[in-house]
C-alpha cells in the first residue's frame, strides 16, 4: 500500500475509532452538558474521518469509497493507535484517553498545517479549529477532576497510569511515518513528542497529578494493524449493518 494512503488511513482511523467510542456514550453522559460534549466531539471526529478517508480513496483509486474503508475492513486492516480503542471505562478513563489524544492531535495538526501537501493542509486547517476546542475542554476537565475530590483525584491518577503506556506509539515512527517525514508531510516525531510532554506536564501540575515517566515502557502495534482485543468488539457493532445487509443505504 502506498505510504501516503497508509498515513491518511492512520489519521482517519484514529478519529473514526474514538468517534465510535464516544458515540456509544450518547445518552449515558454523567451530566447533560457532558453528554452533548461527548457526542459533539464524536461528530467533529466523524467529519474529519470522512475528509481523510475520501482523500485516501482518491489516491488509492481502487474503487473503494470512504464508506467501504470504514465499514468493510477487518481489525488487522485498521491503523489506529491502541490508545483510541481502550474501553470507555469510568469517566476519568474516558477523559484521560481524550486528553492524551487531543494533545497529540492538536500538535500533529498544527505541524500538518505547514506540510507540503495542499489537500492535507486544507483538512488540517478545518480540523484544528475543532480540535483546539476539544483540547481546551479535556484539559480543563482533567484539572477539575485531578484537583477535585480525593476520589476524583484517585480515579484520574489511576486512569493516567493505566493509559500512559499507550501514548508512546503516537511518536514511535515506523517505515511509513519515516517515509512521510522524508516526503515533507509528517512532522518530526521528536518535535511532536516534546510538545506533547510539555503540555501534559503543565496540565498535570495544575491538576495535582503525577505525570508518569516519559521513559516508561510503551505498548505499540496499532499502526501496523496489531490490535488489543477491544477493537474487534468496537468494529462488530460499528460494521454490523453493512455486514448483515451489504450495500444498504438510507
Amino acid at each position: 500500500m502506498d505510504d501516503k494512503v497508509n498515513y491518511l488511513l492512520r489519521l482517519g482511523d484514529n478519529a473514526l475509532i474514538l468517534s465510535q467510542q464516544l458515540s456509544q456514550l450518547c445518552g449515558k453522559g454523567p451530566a447533560l452538558e457532558e453528554d452533548m460534549a461527548l457526542t459533539n466531539v464524536a461528530l467533529d471526529l466523524l467529519g474529519q474521518t470522512r475528509l481523510w478517508f475520501s482523500y485516501a480513496a482518491e489516491l488509492e483509486n481502487a474503487g473503494r469509497d470512504e464508506d467501504d474503508i470504514a465499514f468493510l475492513r477487518d481489525a488487522h486492516d485498521f491503523k489506529n493507535c491502541l490508545l483510541l480503542e481502550q474501553p470507555n471505562g469510568n469517566y476519568a478513563d474516558t477523559l484521560m484517553r481524550q486528553f492524551f489524544f487531543d494533545t497529540w492531535h492538536y500538535f500533529q495538526l498544527a505541524e500538518l498545517l505547514k506540510c507540503g501537501d495542499p489537500r492535507i493542509v486544507e483538512v488540517a486547517q478545518k480540523s484544528i479549529k475543532e480540535v483546539t476546542y476539544h483540547l481546551r475542554r479535556s484539559g480543563d476537565l482533567i484539572v477539575r477532576l485531578g484537583d477535585g475530590t480525593a476520589e476524583s483525584h484517585a480515579k484520574t491518577q489511576a486512569a493516567a497510569d493505566a493509559l500512559w503506556m499507550y501514548t508512546g506509539e503516537m511518536f514511535n515512527y515506523d517505515a511509513v511515518d519515516q517515509a512521510m517525514f522524508d516526503a515533507g508531510i509528517a512532522p518530526s516525531s521528536a518535535v511532536l513528542r516534546e510538545a506533547f510532554l510539555e503540555h501534559v506536564a503543565e496540565i498535570f501540575a495544575e491538576a495535582t497529578l503525577v505525570m508518569p515517566s516519559p521513559d516508561a515502557w510503551m505498548q505499540k502495534g496499532g499502526k501496523q494493524g496489531r490490535h488489543t482485543e477491544h477493537l474487534g468488539f468496537i468494529l462488530a457493532e460499528m460494521q454490523f449493518l453493512q455486514r448483515a445487509y451489504p450495500g444498504a443505504e438510507w
Binding site: 452538558e33 461528530l43 467533529d44 471526529l45 486544507e122 486547517q125 479549529k129 483546539t132 476546542y133 481546551r136
Partner: protein
Amino acid sequence: MNTAAGAAALDAAQVWAWLDEVPDPEIPVISVVDLGIVRAVDVVSSDECIVTITPTYSGCPAMQVIADAVTDALRSHGVAKVTLVNQLAPAWTTDWMSETGKAKLKGYGIAPPQQQVIDISGLRGGAGAGVKRHVLPRLDVICPNCGSSHTQLTSQFGSTPCKALYKCLDCREPFDYFKCH
C-alpha cells in the same frame, strides 16, 4: 447548448437572491447565504449553474440537507442542471456570516458570534504568557433577550455543533450562543 433563441440568460445575482431564500435547516431564521456557506455561483448556461458550498463544521449533519435544499430551490426556478462543489479552503469561520444574518440570529434568541475566530496559534486563548493554557477564553457574551453582558457559560456544546449554551445572570434566561470559529 442553449437552443431556445431569446431565452433569458441566467443572472448570477438572481441565483444568489434565490439562494438567499433557502433557510438553514437547523436555524431556519437565517438563509444559507447569511450563514456564509455559499462560496460561489457560476452560471454555465441559461439552465445550468455550479454552486460552491463549504461546511461549517466538518461533521455538520445538515450539509446533505443543505445541498438538497439548494438543488431543489434552483430547480424550482427552472435551473435544470445544478452542480454542487464542496470546498474546504479557506475554512469557514463565523466571519463569513453576514451582518444581516447576525441580526436575524439575535432576533431569534441566539447570541451571534461576537469575538474573533478561535485562536489556533496556541492554547492560551489569545491571552499573554503566564495564563494557564487550559483556561477557556472568557467572552462577554451579550444576552439576546435583555442585552446584559452579565452572562455565564453553561456548556461548551449546545443543541448543534455550532452553538454553546449560556445563561443570563440578569434576566435568568438560558440561551444559545453561536460559537466563534
